[in-house]
């Protein structure tokens, strides 16, 4: 089944709902979309350490249980760090939501298929790791409902969003040190 949702449209729908949530985005396309659609100090862009996006977000969620943390990961990156799902399940942070843009390819490197193209089911893997609130989303209306749940209910959540293949236009702003500093300061300024 070909996915019709785009990553940019799904990012836009999330951005409309954001208030004081932290958003951590995966290197490459996830960060590019987030920068272009809704750049804000409470965004934590990542540029390296492929696979670690969900772990970085977990560390933020554990250190700031008063804030909701949304992680925008990619299928290729999450597949590199599946153990992270077990750690998320074991720690059980209620303020944590992992959204996976699953386009079934390594988009940034030229579109080579990932294991999800061959049938690996990230939602089933997440459930197997012990995350009960794991769901796969294909349509916009489903996605809206999933966002409402993950921003309103106790987590942890895993929302795997089947999105269309394709690169986003534009160029990632790679102020690696500056963005980390801006994020840390914005977080420190938010009262607990």
């Amino acid at each position: 089944m070909t996915a019709t949702l785009t990553r940019a449209a799904a990012t836009r729908l999330l951005a409309e709902r954001l208030t004081r949530e932290v958003v951590v985005s995966n290197l490459g396309q996830a960060s590019l979309d987030l920068q272009q659609i809704a750049d804000r100090p409470l965004n934590c862009y990542t540029y390296g350490a492929m696979g670690q996006c969900s772990s970085i977000a977990l560390g933020i969620a554990l250190a700031r249980p008063d804030l909701r943390v949304v992680c925008l990961d990619g299928d290729g990156s999450l597949l590199m760090n599946l153990g992270s799902l077990c750690t998320i399940a074991a720690e059980g942070p209620r303020n944590y939501a992992l959204v996976v843009w699953d386009n079934e390819v390594h988009q940034t490197t030229g579109g080579q298929p990932t294991a999800t193209a061959a049938g690996a089911d990230l939602t089933a893997i997440a459930r197997g790791a012990g995350i009960e609130k794991a769901m796969e989303v294909r349509a916009e209306e489903e996605l809206r409902r999933a966002y409402d749940r993950m921003l309103g209910e106790d987590g942890p959540f895993v929302v795997s969003v089947k999105v269309a293949k394709g690169r986003s236009e534009g160029r990632l702003d790679r102020d690696v040190v500056g963005h980390a500093r801006r994020f840390r300061q914005a977080l420190a300024a938010l009262p607990r």
């Binding site: 390296g48 560390g59 554990l62 760090n81």
Partner: protein, 171 residues
């Protein structure tokens, strides 16, 4: 003969410098440091599935205002190299690494030796300042200064635990 109180000294150096978040893939040696941390209600210890995950987790914790340390065997340092380079060094995110040094003096397992020899050069290649205290006195003399330097530079630092300090692992 190593003084068995070494592990409490390591835990105390970490705690008195404000570290409260810990990630680990345990090994025989660092498990002795983990015991007082597990018993401390102010400290959170997260057992990760692979050391690299701990690098990500502690980096997130620091961005959210919390200091932390990753406790692991030096084999785990090998699992962390790219994350330390492309996340911590590139973005200037400090974390403390506490690394038990297998594969050096007295080692019984040939599989440990290559990483044992590579440990120092890997840290040096990443520009990660490290200490390798051979005694509790050396640990006490250098530990606070190392951690302070790490947060001043905003870069990772490493306390490497040699068998002279810990007694190593007997095979």
């Amino acid at each position: 003969m190593a003084d068995p109180s070494w592990s409490k000294h390591v835990a105390d150096v970490l705690r008195r410098n404000g570290l409260r978040m810990f990630a680990t893939v345990p090994d025989y040696i660092v498990s002795h440091v983990l015991e007082p941390l597990w018993a401390d209600s102010e400290c959170r210890v997260v057992t990760v599935t692979r050391e690299e995950e701990g690098v990500g987790l502690l980096s997130g914790a620091w961005l959210a205002g919390q200091r932390g340390a990753l406790l692991m065997q030096n084999s785990g340092l090998g699992n962390c190299v790219n994350a330390l380079a492309s996340l911590n060094v590139a973005s200037q995110i400090p974390i403390v690494l506490v690394i038990s040094h297998r594969g050096d003096l007295g080692e019984f397992n040939p599989a440990q030796v290559p990483m044992g020899q590579a440990t120092g050069p890997i840290l040096d290649a990443l520009g990660i300042r490290s200490i390798r205290p051979g005694s509790i006195a050396e640990l006490e003399a250098q530990g606070d200064g190392l951690i302070k330097l790490g947060y001043t530079r905003s870069l990772p630092v490493a306390i490497v635990l040699p068998p002279e300090l810990t007694g190593g692992k007997q095979g």
